[in-house]
Symmetry: C2
Amino acid sequence: MKSIDRREFAKLSFLAAAATALPLRAETQKPVRFAPVGLGVISNIFMEACAQSTKCKVTALVTGHAKEKAPKYEALYGISPKAVYNYENYDEIANNPDIDAVYIGLPNSMHAEYTIRAAKAGKHVLCEKPMAISSAECQQMIDACRQHNVKLMIAYRVHYDPMWQQIRQMARSGALGEVQGFQGGFYGPKMSGWRLDRKLAGGGSLLDLGIYPLNAIRWISGEEPASFTAQVASMLPGPRFTSVEESIEFTMKFPSGLLASSGSSYGEAAPAYLSIDGTQGNLWVEPAFLYDGLKFHGRTIHGPVSEVSSGKQPYQFTYEADHFADCIRNNTQPATPGEEGLKDLLAIEAIYRAAGDPIA
Amino acid sequence: MKSIDRREFAKLSFLAAAATALPLRAETQKPVRFAPVGLGVISNIFMEACAQSTKCKVTALVTGHAKEKAPKYEALYGISPKAVYNYENYDEIANNPDIDAVYIGLPNSMHAEYTIRAAKAGKHVLCEKPMAISSAECQQMIDACRQHNVKLMIAYRVHYDPMWQQIRQMARSGALGEVQGFQGGFYGPKMSGWRLDRKLAGGGSLLDLGIYPLNAIRWISGEEPASFTAQVASMLPGPRFTSVEESIEFTMKFPSGLLASSGSSYGEAAPAYLSIDGTQGNLWVEPAFLYDGLKFHGRTIHGPVSEVSSGKQPYQFTYEADHFADCIRNNTQPATPGEEGLKDLLAIEAIYRAAGDPIA
């Protein structure tokens, strides 16, 4: 995308859309203008996604390190130095009509404050998961966005991935018989930085990684878990895991009787996977929750299935940002509203309670 | 094997062994003579395994259905009709010097009684897993075999599979860094018959299928689980799962901090798998606990690894039976003695307690 002119690309897209008789509105709607809040790894991916979209545009930045971080993005995306805010003057985004929405890519404990301040400034909010570090904060965020009449969407990129949508559709279509169980997990590299500080992260690998299989299971099953068990462990030596759990394994039972187990770890160099188990078939997604390279295989009542996603990072973010842009332009409700983030936090709190939350 | 004469095969084996300079004792030791007790599916496989072995031989049968079942095996394996016993005259095996050992392939609830009666008859015992339906029974079996000076081995066929031995060796060698976690499960077809009757089975899918990942995790880690959580579910409609659980998911924490989750189900048509998670690598076994067709792949500190087992059913049973035959002939302790079965039952009881054992 960076090698061709934005306007040229938009024109090409328009012609391509016309040629294939796609609806034109999506190509002609005015881009939603975003201010990413926090310029870490994930905001960087989000900005790349906007650069690949005709519906989204980055027009402002919010960062505590303007001097080091802003110039690169100003140059890349044509952002005015006047549209670079910090955490003190953040509320002044209210006075910038070139900002429609913020993208919250901050440490978890800051999501609530910066969402609520954006709502008060009249800006829509796309907030990274986990939505916050407690269900109480989630409710405050929902209330603030409702009160100030701005949209709130949680950035569950998996929901916007066409392959995941296909997987969910298959699981819900009866092609596996009755879905009775899930097993899954997300086991990541050794993390460092704010993720290991409970004050900033709110929890350990469960909040950062385990939320993926948890959310996928809730989303695909369409049910809310009713009972939980969990155990946590921190084996890696040294002081890194004194404030958050390194590893967690948990089980969830749903009202229908559906049973799931899942886990996450900062220490285990294992695959991310999800197994969806029906009475007559199975779908096995592995790798499951990464930015790209996703695959699944399995067996349905119609025969074997297998697929490798052709999407390349940041494609999930682009679908996600485009969806939010559509919601804003068409005044519709996001598929993953604040209520979806709240439900995950309620489950996460129940899992930590089940584990005896020995670290808190 | 069935197409060539037994003696001819033994001679060929002897020549082959001599030609490749293998130790001769294994080829020349007198075969251990087995009486399978119960002639269901698994005893049938065991007898096929003996037919492929020079160390084992089936010389008697114990069955409640002699008329229907015995003639086939008498013809196949050259068993005398005089060496066919039933459950009433079972103790008379004591008077048959052509029986060295019994193979217990009965419903779980009968393992203890028929092991103890065999011990009293002076016969060695190879008993299928689960060893029994309670740890108390396991202890009685161990005591009886010790008292009567016969060997007791539990038929953990996974321990005798060369590929599983290789997997365990890799996991314990440091090639994955420090092993911190396991995830696994064994999800089988819809079972029927005695497995759905708690009086005979002692429990549901955990005792029949979940014992595989449980035992593999204990075996590979070399640790005993210290704390447990579990949830059970029975979703399939109808009266089949009123006495035993259909599905179970459980977590186990080990003294080192190692964390495992695993499960089993009679309803979920899902893969059998085991993921072994180290700080620097992973081994993924899938399918994991079947009679053949096993595969694993993964990543170690030395690079990627991948293998498909060439073994064909009943190869695991042959290795297993040969090991027991060696133990008997050389007066050594089996690698999977009664104590190994007891440890699984202690863990299984703890898992059922953690689940609240709602069915008992």
